[in-house]
Subunit: 347 residues, 2 copies
DNA sequence: ATGAAAGCGCTAACAG
DNA sequence: CTGTTAGCGCTTTCAT
């Protein structure tokens, strides 16, 4: 009787319809779907079968006007980056089965992070995980005081949001020691341009760059920094420029694996190999371990970062934690074949 | 006066607050933010400055209860696949500046497509783009009759949703001709398992597999199909199995590039090269053109598919089109170095 | 051109 | 344990 099979598009049933079908009040239905306290087994039974037979699904829009949306937003600055993909996977896996739905909002083209974060808040997500290298700490503090917020890849000593990051200084230091140990002196660095909004020492790329420059200076070598966009083709362009110069670097430390893959592309295209110029990345994306790529890099445990971020967020959402937590993951160097001892010829 | 700088978290302003601040009615404010007909310049001016000074942002949840949510949902079955990333990029770029926000909902782990599509509808998105190889045509027809819907990678002759796909039979045919032309006879195929819910001839992977099997049979060769999961490690496992057998295939046609990269990993790890066994993929992800990978594959223009899907969706959303459109993109073979003429030794 | 009022589908007191 | 009653912040008739 509740089942109609007419072809017409019928309005989706509301809570009122369920209440009517079950012969109970709206409030009762609400309690059942929320597993709230105070429903008799009989009531639950009636309501559930009404829900079933009507195919009722609660409107999240309506729910979120009073209660929660059971939705977690994840803002990313870029789609074409396997490291971010890895992080998102960790987050998605961690969130699975929690009753919350993950929605990913990419900041694409000219749109920086803040408008996307706003868009998420406008949609009343219960919490936000973000990778937002473009947004100022002040702006984030304000956001964090009105919605549970976890930032990935930020070294902010924030009061109103959590952070999950890796020790970029340590990671970059390991890279430099590795290269120095191989005898390299003319080491170039490719970095991703930061934002004027954000202090230098808060962002992975600027910390890596700074660590690089200091390590070079400490040995009396001349730092050579190339600023690049974040995409593989841009890493390729940077690599092409460096490897077409009159005097080549013996090694390139790319700010991340995506750029390193681009640099490898340039190196291979110019007929060069690891014996001519070493290349190091940062992130340890899955591709880095591929034997045909074999990229020396720094593992910063993307999946784990993603899942940690969700854990922290859920603490804020469900347990109501309000004190900020800042997690720092210890990075590990992965030495592979893209780096070689410097040769006599190239020295 | 409207600007307060207390540290306390103040409630975000509602339309009522704006109306009060501007000294007009709620309805007037609503008209202004919707650019609706019938607002005097003076009114618009007053309202806009009130919005500005209060930092007002409309609640999408509330709006979507009567009107629209200005949100487009994109469901994907997998995060770790560069082809999907490419498609999403095309979609994101096409949607940029349209006033709609893109939200991506991944179907992760055990969760198949349908629950995620439901979650999107529960959140009242204005339209959905989906890559859902697991959902039956009937289910999709029902969904499509209640919300604008575009499916990628489906060959369904659907009445209530649009499709954007490539000619998989043609693409697979080109692969087989290429391999036959190089003298290959023992060609193995790695496919992604389909769903019992969906007829064989509607899905890219099953069409490619069928085309492969027919092409082999037509030449009197024995088809050898390995079914695999969709992840790179699974492609690797399949490759490892095939390449550790007592009699090796001379070529492997992988169902997509992700699997092919996995197969390449196995090949390289076993100390084999294209001279021993050729490997072909399908998709032409960016990595395929990398000189260190150089994967022969079929270009199915992911970015273009994504942008086409959004165009079609917007036609349904804004222009109210209701007649289904089915777009088929012509694939192109990209011959690279992962395939070689069969050698005397391996023949 | 503007505003008052009803209502979208739900949750949250509060009564009974 | 159950139902009634207000809203949540918008959009939408319908008057004015």
């Amino acid at each position: 009787m509740a089942v109609e099979s007419s072809g017409a598009t019928r309005k989706r049933p509301s809570m009122d319809d369920v209440a009517a079908e079950a012969g109970v009040s709206k409030a009762a239905v609400s309690k059942v779907i929320r597993n709230a306290y105070g429903v008799s087994p009989a009531m639950r039974e009636k309501v559930e079968s009404a829900i079933e037979s009507l195919g009722y699904r609660p409107s999240i829009s309506a729910r979120s006007m009073r209660g929660s949306s059971f939705t977690v937003g994840f803002e990313i600055p870029q789609l074409a980056n396997d490291f971010f993909t890895q992080v998102m996977q960790g987050a998605a896996d961690e969130l699975a089965g929690s009753g919350y739905q993950l929605i990913i909002a990419p900041a694409v083209g000219e749109v920086k992070g803040a408008p996307v974060l706003d868009a998420l808040v406008d949609r009343r997500v219960d919490g936000i995980v973000a990778i937002s290298p473009e947004v100022s700490p002040g702006w984030l503090e304000r956001l964090g005081s009105s919605v549970p917020l976890v930032l990935l890849g930020r070294h902010d000593a924030a009061a109103h949001y959590d952070t999950v990051t890796n020790d970029d200084a340590r990671g970059a230091q390991m890279v430099m020691e590795h290269l120095f140990g191989l005898g390299h002196r003319r080491i170039a660095h490719v970095t991703v341009g930061g934002s004027a909004e954000v202090p230098e020492d808060l962002l992975p790329h600027t910390i890596r760059r700074k660590t690089y420059a200091e390590a070079m200076a400490a040995r009396g070598f001349v730092p050579a920094v190339t600023t690049s966009g974040p995409l593989e083709p841009e890493g390729y362009a940077a690599g092409l420029k460096l490897l077409s110069a009159s005097v080549l670097p013996t090694a390139i430390f790319a700010g991340n694996d995506t750029l390193a893959i681009g640099a490898l592309r340039a190196r291979a295209e110019l007929g060069l190999s690891a014996f001519d110029v070493s290349i190091v990345g940062y992130d340890n994306i899955d591709l880095a371990s591929h034997p045909m790529m074999s990229l020396t890099t720094v593992d910063q445990f993307g999946r784990q970062s993603g899942s940690t971020a969700i854990k922290l967020l859920l603490e804020r959402i469900t347990a109501g934690r309000t004190q900020a937590v800042h997690e720092m993951i210890a990075p590990e160097l992965r030495v592979r074949e893209s780096t070689r001892p410097v040769t006599v010829a190239s020295r």
